[in-house]
Symmetry: C2
Subunit: 653 residues, 2 copies
């Protein structure tokens, strides 16, 4: 099978800068944090927990108590996964050695039967597997399996892979062979086991993933029974809130995306991966239903999901408040995972479109432009004095905070941005698929005898060149399938200068033989010469987006986009006041690149009016208005210039 | 002093119907509920608690445990207060006898030293006065004091008054003479003691009210210290949340209305009443500051206050979400109390305007048109499927529920609507003030030798006639001061057919001698003939209201009002869809009376457009629109025709 991670060398002006920040800032910072080497940061103790667990196994006692969340181990796993990815394009022998040392430490903290979890090894050895609802054992195992697969694919080293196979075998024995009841409170192991299966091709891992997916929600009272028997709790979570943990029904019966949004999309990712592998029709249909529910009823325009802080959860169809949005960075990353596996099931651009939406808006917004601070919560409207301060807005911080105690989002951003190849590309026997426009070189020498070099100024420029370079003299047949995004109304594609396809208001026109358009992908097939160039040229005007009126918060409002980027207005560009701004209907929207601003952005200039603030709260005369030119910036770049108002959905007049 | 309650005989088509419902439905239902005679209702046990307390005092044991909330006693007090008021205009010997019996029972539950509280007498005799933060002893005392004053003023009977004077004396001894520390977690006793002072003219009650007002917040850590020493808790309330209980600072230093909104306005009412009595300038200023903060930054257009469910509380300036509003009915009643006492301090129509706003919108909306169901929470936007269902909207029920376990709002509505005379009128040496337009007869024979008969179709008709009828032959000098509401742009006032004053776009024009306009009141002085008629004729067009753009939820939106009534659109009148509606700017708004609808309402017909619902969540083309005539109804009448969408603030196009 292909190893896109190794085969793709990222060389992208835009995403490359983010990858660089992750490699140079985030991964080293996180390593230090895990090792408690950052004095001003909250203590992690995550590596120390492994030391203590190893000591406990070796000597029967330990020197220090376990410290941290019950899932503290997973911070180490996420770091290892991100570090693994970073080693592909940025070899670093010292980093690799330190990672190897940590892996060796992990190995020494593994019990003989394969069990691996420092919380239970150090602190609660008698309570293993008694609290699947809260205790995250399977969740941590999943993250280590993901790290193991990544480390193996990135470095070829299999020591962590073997540790985690042994751990997965242990879990298989318990839950499949010995028929232990239960399923994980926080889905994650399902998607991880599918990745382990992809890498090892060992059927039992697919079988174990299928097991957890198939038993989930068959007994929706499982956590209730567990709560009655376990006699201990981590947080006192309500075992009857089945929607929270997506166990209100067997997964094939789920019709609405509910509960904790990260748990939800992690589960759906595992389901889609399994369905893609097995073709299980009822599972395929359930995935499609859940996908549609998210995308058509429960997703912010930024690709944010989970509209409430309470339970970090989905709520109800069309309930998408802008100012109190939760829209966790990790949930949008999970939506990218889900999209990737839906694409694996079916090559349809509507999945890639949403993957792109989540990536370029909420996921990138998660990280400050200097890589040093992170948003966990991504509101679409921020008002200093209310956001982060009112009791209803405590979660919607108006500026990115430093690393949290529960460090979920930063390492998730890190592992996603360092493994972008796996989202940008996929390969089947039929074709090579380009899902995202990312500069770099994809080495297909082994499978196709070519390399594909991509050059683009995306997401600010709509021109993308695919240069296909043949390595030898034999003829090569290749189908390159390029996603043509839904947001683009006018585009043309040429091959070696000759037009092969056009899209405009009249629809699609495919001109050349060997070229066809299906489900949003343009399939270009044929014999590759020594050097073929396929050029995609997308018009990139600013456009207005309207919301289904069922979304109460957005009635009468409009959002601005350009390409895949959602725009917002920020106080700093608009005299400190965005709440008074309205955009004039039907006016032309100007855009221009400003290299000096926010690491280089295209800003928009929009004719509109400002309604002036008033002394009284309610007025029987329309408050005074003045014409203004509104400046909008990409949403991902907001919050980088101090405390100020921000808004995505703006009244249209 | 005057006893407006006794002097005013209500005879008002509109408010009279509400008073009738209260007398015929609410008070009898509540009495049965208190006596546990309604099988399907949640057990109250409130009367039984008094029986048990009396038995405990008489025999040293009791047969049943205390049952209910720690403040269960106050339900009896609120009922007694409402029953007292109802006896004025609706004498009912049997009801009065039953009330007397309950009062006798209360007397037998009072301890020898004056202490009165069934929770502590029956359940926790050793914990009296140890938990001022949570245990509501002073709160319950306050409600019984209010009931005692009301019962005395309504019936002339002083047995409850004497019980409560004895109780107040007990509290005086403890907190003033013996210098016990502390102040009530839920303000109420302050305003009640001021009423007791008004009725008895005994200085010690004013002194005790002033004591609780003056010590509040001087030590903001008082509840923290109490929590450390008391060793028990009712609900585990956070003693450090000083904003919640308005003890973050001494009351004279408060600049923002914070915390639990009912507690807040009850406190401010007591402060304003004390300030009105004493003229204490720093207290006057604090009241004005808090009033302005509410009215200019923290109040819904409906007179609702307290914008979050969490703590039933005020949040931050301009944070007024429509769909998740708390806006408790009781809080708007409390705002009426506060307004009444501000008016006592200064006759300025801006206080009466807001009192009227709260009454005709949120307070009336609290009760179903049949008097059988009640809203505690009064959102300005309701969406079935989200409201009452999403985790963020559990409190915003889309239909009025039955009587709650914690029965605060229905009896509060009952006592307010049966004592409307005290809000509609006040009398000073200088003048008789008409604050609200309410049909009926005010008997001023004793003080002025006249009766004032008011005839009006308010709030739907802007004509109000004050017929002043002299009782004898002596000449009578009278100044009648009529509030002319801020919402009215065009009006004229005549005396016996001759114009005395006009208001139009050019401002005020006072024509006759002996007439002057000050702070929104028209003072008409002179000798009263045998029958003088003063007629106020107010234009009552529909008008648009805009919000300060600082209120994010209302940007680009408009509300409709006519007279004092805020309007809303409801699905049942608008093809089931109000979220898609926009009102056309600048168009004429029609209104017409529909006697058959909702007990008789003026509906509005408004040209606008409907944006049709769409399959997709986000669209790059403006969704299809169609012209529609929008029907709006008064906000107070919403939710009487089944489950449907409702909205006050509507986009304007």
């Amino acid at each position: 099978m292909s190893n896109l991670l190794k085969q793709f060398h990222l060389n992208d002006n835009f995403l490359g800068a983010y990858e660089k920040l992750v490699v140079e800032q985030v991964i080293p910072y996180q390593e230090k944090a895990l090792k408690d080497e950052i004095p001003e940061a909250e203590k992690s103790h995550a590596i120390e927990n492994f030391r203590q667990a190893a000591k406990m196994l070796a000597e029967g006692i330990c020197e220090e108590e376990f410290y941290g969340m019950v899932f503290q181990d997973s911070d180490v796993a996420k770091w290892l996964e991100a570090a693994a990815y970073s080693l592909v394009n940025h070899p670093d022998a010292e980093l690799e050695q330190r990672a190897d040392d940590i892996i060796a430490l992990i190995g020494s903290a593994q019990q003989e039967d394969g069990y691996l979890n420092t919380y239970f090894t150090v602190k609660e050895p008698d309570k293993k597997w008694t609290n699947l609802q809260e205790a995250h054992e399977l969740y941590c195992a999943g993250h280590f399996i993901e790290a193991a697969v990544a480390y193996y694919e990135a470095t070829g080293k299999d020591s962590l892979l073997n540790i985690m196979k042994k751990n997965a075998d242990h879990i298989y024995r318990r839950f499949v062979e010995e028929k232990a009841e239960g399923y994980p409170g926080h889905p994650e192991i399902e998607l991880a086991l599918m990745r382990l299966y992809d890498t090892t091709k060992e059927k039992k891992y697919l079988e174990l993933a299928a097991h957890f997916i198939n038993v989930r929600g068959v007994d929706p009272d499982y956590y209730k029974k567990e709560a009655e028997s376990k006699g201990w709790t981590v947080w006192g979570m309500n075992p009857e809130d089945t929607e929270y943990a997506q166990n209100q029904a067997p997964v094939r019966k789920l019709t609405k995306a509910t509960g904790h949004s990260v748990r939800a999309v992690y589960l759906y990712t595992g389901m889609a991966h399994l369905a893609a592998e097995t073709g299980d029709e009822s599972l395929v249909r359930a995935c499609e239903t859940l996908w549609d529910n998210i995308v058509k009823q429960r997703m912010y325009i930024t690709g944010g999901i989970g509209s409430t802080n309470e339970g970090e959860a989905f709520t109800k169809d069309y309930n998408l408040p802008n100012d109190t949005a939760y829209a966790e960075t990790c949930a949008s990353i999970g939506l990218m995972f889900f999209a990737r596996r839906m694409l694996q099931m079916k090559k349809d651009s509507r999945y890639a479109d949403e993957m792109e939406r989540a990536l370029y808006n909420t996921v990138l917004a998660g990280m400050q432009l200097d890589g040093k601070r992170f948003f966990y919560v991504n509101p679409l409207e921020v008002i200093p004095g209310i956001s982060g301060e009112a009791v209803t807005h405590r979660h919607t911080l108006p500026q990115r905070p430093k690393w949290f105690g529960c460090a979920c989002c930063p390492p998730n951003v890190a592992r996603t941005l360092t493994s972008i190849a796996e989202y940008a590309w996929s390969e089947t026997e039929e074709a090579v698929f380009s899902h995202l426009y990312v500069g770099g070189e994809l080495d297909l020498t082994e499978s196709k005898g070519v390399k594909i070099q991509v050059e683009t100024g995306y997401p600010y420029d709509g021109n993308v060149n695919y240069r296909i370079v043949k390595d030898g003299k034999e003829k090569t047949e290749l189908t390159l399938a390029i996603r043509l995004p839904g947001w683009c109304k006018q585009l043309s594609v040429s091959r070696n200068g000759g037009m092969v396809c056009q899209k405009n208001e009249d629809g699609w026109k495919v001109i050349a033989p060997g070229v066809h358009h299906q489900d949003g992908y343009l399939y270009i097939s044929g014999t590759v010469g020594n050097e073929d160039v396929i050029s995609v040229s997308m018009d990139m005007p600013v456009y207005r987006v309207y919301s289904n009126p069922a979304v109460a918060a957005n009635n009468g409002r409009v959002a601005l986009m350009r390409g895949p980027l959602v725009y917002c207005v920020e106080g700093v560009d608009n005299n400190g006041d965005v709440l008074g701004l309205s955009i004039a209907e039907g006016t032309i929207l100007y855009s221009g690149y400003r290299p000096e601003l926010l690491s280089g952005v295209v800003t928009l200039s929009v004719p509109g009016v400002r309604t002036k603030r008033t002394e009284e709260l309610y007025l029987t005369e329309k408050p005074e208005q003045e014409p203004v030119n509104i400046t909008a910036i990409p949403y991902y770049a907001w919050g980088n210039r101090g405390l100020n108002e921000m808004r995505v959905w703006i009244p249209e007049v």
